[in-house]
């Protein structure tokens, strides 16, 4: 009975929000808005649950003297300081902004910048003239890379129009196919959920 009730509620909520998109009635809009507000609350609660889970997992490591407790301790201390600063002064307070701008931001940017080196290694291994398909891939990749350079006309005046053609014809066509497929899959998955074919929440 519980499973049936949960599934029925889920289906009803989904159909109502779907109907809200096509039906312009005040009552439908109002209830649809309430359901969406509930989704926002659930999403926010999920963040809190994630935070609690983080505290539990790393707290246990520290408590049990796990060999990995060092980084866990650093994480917990950092989390505590950030939380404290955010709760006391607010997210826009000078201290919180300082922490974000001069600690979190540079660390994240550094990790992102490492991507450049991975790309170089990947280019060394990926661009192999092994078969005709890989030859085409390599050729197009080199053309697009060179054409992406600001001022690529200096290297070759045909690079910019060639790049525009690549992006506007084959790339757009391929991406349209992918988008259509994704959309059809999303519709299928939604219908399966609405009509109880899949019940991942029970």
């Amino acid at each position: 009975m519980k499973k049936v009730l949960a599934a029925a509620l889920g289906t009803l909520a989904g159909l109502w929000v779907l109907a809200d998109t096509f039906i312009d009635l005040p009552i439908v809009d109002r209830i649809g808005g309430i359901l969406l507000d509930g989704a926002l609350i659930v999403a926010g609660s999920a963040l809190m649950l994630g935070l609690l889970n983080l505290l539990l997992v790393h707290g246990r490591r520290v408590q049990r003297e796990d060999p990995r407790r060092g980084p866990s301790l650093v994480l917990l201390v950092s989390l505590g300081i950030t939380l404290l600063l955010g709760l006391l002064g607010g997210p826009a307070s000078p201290s919180f902004e300082w922490l974000f701008r001069y600690v979190y931001y540079p660390i994240q940017a550094t990790i992102g910048s490492l991507l450049a080196f991975f790309i170089v290694t990947a280019a060394y291994r990926a661009f192999r003239l092994r078969t005709w398909e890989t030859a085409v891939l390599t050729g197009v990749a080199i053309i697009v890379l060179l054409a992406q350079i600001p001022g690529s006309a200096r290297l070759c005046r045909y690079l910019p129009p060639l790049r525009d053609w690549v992006f506007s014809v084959p790339v757009t066509a391929a991406m349209r196919g992918i988008i259509m497929g994704t959309a059809l899959g999303t519709v299928t998955t939604g219908l399966r959920l609405l009509f109880w074919v899949d019940q991942p929440y029970t």
Partner: protein, 567 residues
């Protein structure tokens, strides 16, 4: 579980001493499985190969005559010559030819055979008490007899053996009197006995010329080898062979488990050849080259590439869309990126914000990414500082973070003050700000600009806001997101796209300003060239290290790990 031979207590596997009586559990000779003939440690209860009971006579006799249990174990404790040679393979045949000592004694029953009559057991008991070994066969020390061989002789031989034993008391007495001098000789004889002679020695039931195992008749006595700390016969098997098997198993296990985890770099697919993976030297060279390509132009300066930038159509579309905004209009700025990708889009964002503020356009910022608001606040404040004379709440405002992704975007048309009760920077009631009073709904916005770290965030805005509400949208995103958003630009859903540093440099060129993107154009160009050079070097290494054409063609369809990494 390990059963103690002395008291019968079950002990945990791996125990060295009995927890009940303290008997040493490890100093016991091996036992031969009565079913398959496999040699098992003495502490095993079941054969580790076929799971048959190793001491069936113990289990059966313990139910009828508990006194027999220790004796049986003594009989079965006899050292067995199992050198892992031919004898081990012949063991399955042994039971047919040679009755076990226990069977001769009458205390051991063949598998499946009914128990001997009580009088036979009693006779056997008497003979044992008199110090007579169940089998006076020559060369049949108990140590050599596997206690549980298959197909033992029928029961008739046992009483005969027992009777035969009874007929030799004087001999046994004489043997007993010689006990002090015999042990060493008998033990050494046992040790030196060739495994291949064991079947011959145990074939007949004739009294053995070799002395029997002393102390066998003494209940509970340990074998002499244990007492004298002599090496057990079970240790004489060829250790090299067993070691090789273990090495093979370990190697196989390691190959199956460890190799896949060591990564692609440790494997060398046949079709890739020697140059499949960049070596340490090549990797260092590429990394140093990349660093130099980025750092040197920034330090030295120069605008070799930056002076000849030709803006693309999508960037021009974004520029014209902003340029067409009337003065005093409001633009919605959705900052959907985190610090990891913010650096790549920051020059483009700065150029766009400067253009907006130059046009006297008000900006309402928000985010559906948790780390978006601090980044947005930094950008807005820096842009306001560059523009000069701008007030928070009047010229620009940041509403903050809204969880829920698509659900949050679906709520936007309800009104910004409904969705964002408070602003992010001052934590005040959002409805009190002039800017929100003026432009509370999306329909009152002139343009929407989505700053995305990837194409997913921009797609969400296209699906949930642009399509139902009709808000015109621009995208400022990383260069890698451009191909995925190209269909939306071609269909007109996106008015323009500014992708990464190249897009930022083109936007600055359209504004006829030299900004950070233009200044770093040379560094960016050289970095791209390094990537191309890496690809070419990879091909050179691949061609040079290529194996035989047949081998390379044999598996042409195997996916390259690098291709997977390249996506």
């Amino acid at each position: 579980m390990i059963r103690c031979p002395a008291c019968g207590t079950d002990n945990r596997d791996g125990s060295k001493f009995c927890a009940s009586c303290g008997e040493e559990l490890s100093a016991l000779p091996d036992v031969i499985c009565p079913n398959c003939g496999t040699q098992n440690p003495a502490l095993n209860v079941l054969c580790y190969d076929c799971l048959s009971p190793l001491h069936p006579e113990e289990e059966d006799a313990a139910g009828e005559d508990p006194e027999l249990a220790p004796k049986e174990i003594d009989a079965s404790e006899s050292e067995v010559t199992e050198p892992g040679t031919d004898e081990s393979t012949e063991q399955p045949d042994l039971p047919e030819e040679e009755p076990s000592l226990g069977e001769l004694v009458g205390t051991e029953q063949p598998e499946g055979a009914p128990l001997p009559p009580a009088e036979d057991i009693a006779e056997t008991d008497q003979s044992l008490a008199a110090g007579v070994d169940g089998s006076d066969q020559p060369g049949v020390p108990v140590a050599q007899e596997p206690a549980d061989e298959e197909a033992p002789p029928d029961q008739e031989t046992e009483p005969q053996a027992a009777e035969g034993d009874q007929g030799d008391p004087p001999e046994s007495a004489a043997q007993e009197s010689e006990l002090p001098a015999e042990p060493k000789e008998s033990v050494r004889t046992e040790l030196e006995t060739d495994a291949s002679t064991v079947p011959e020695e145990t074939e007949s039931i004739e009294p053995s010329e070799e002395p029997r195992e002393p102390l066998d008749s003494i209940e509970g006595a340990l074998p002499l080898e244990n007492i004298m700390a002599l090496p057990h016969r079970s240790e004489s098997p060829d250790p090299v062979k067993s070691g090789l098997e273990e090495v093979e198993r370990a190697t196989l296990l390691g190959h199956e488990l460890l190799v896949p985890r060591l990564g692609e770099e440790t494997r060398r697919p046949a079709f890739e050849g020697r140059g499949a993976v960049p070596g340490r030297g090549m990797r260092a060279f590429l990394y140093i080259l990349l660093c130099a390509a980025i750092v040197v132009p920034l330090v030295v300066g120069g605008h070799w590439f930056g002076s000849s930038i030709t803006p693309r159509e999508c960037v021009r579309g974004a520029f014209e869309a902003i340029d067409a905004l009337p003065s005093g209009s409001t633009v919605l700025l959705a900052v959907e990126c985190d610090p990891a990708t913010a650096d790549e889009v920051e020059p483009a964002v700065a150029a766009v914000l400067d253009h907006l503020l130059e046009r006297k356009v008000s900006i309402v910022g928000l985010s559906t990414v948790p780390s978006g608001p601090p980044v947005a606040l930094q950008w807005l404040e820096e842009a306001a500082q560059r523009a000069g004379g701008l007030a928070y709440g009047t010229d620009y405002i940041l509403l903050g973070y809204l969880p829920g992704e698509e659900s949050a975007l679906r709520r936007m048309p309800q009104g910004l003050d409904v969705v964002f009760p408070r602003d992010y920077a001052r934590r005040q009631d959002a409805s009190q700000y002039l800017l929100i009073q003026r432009a509370n709904r999306l329909s009152s916005m002139g343009l929407g600009i989505v700053i995305g770290g990837d194409h997913v965030h921009v797609k969400r805005w296209l699906e949930q806001v642009q399509a139902p509400v009709g808000l015109p949208l621009l995208a400022v995103m990383t260069a890698s997101a451009e191909p995925a958003l190209s269909p939306y630009y071609r269909s007109g859903q996106l008015l323009g796209m500014v992708g990464g540093l190249p897009g930022a440099a083109e936007y600055e060129a359209l504004r006829q300003r030299v900004g950070p993107a233009s200044e770093s154009a040379d560094a960016q160009a050289l970095a791209y060239l390094v990537v191309v050079v890496a690809g070419l070097l990879g091909n050179v290494a691949f061609l040079l290290g290529r194996r035989k054409p047949e081998t390379a063609d044999a598996s042409p369809e195997r996916p390259d790990s690098g291709e997977r990494a390249n996506g």
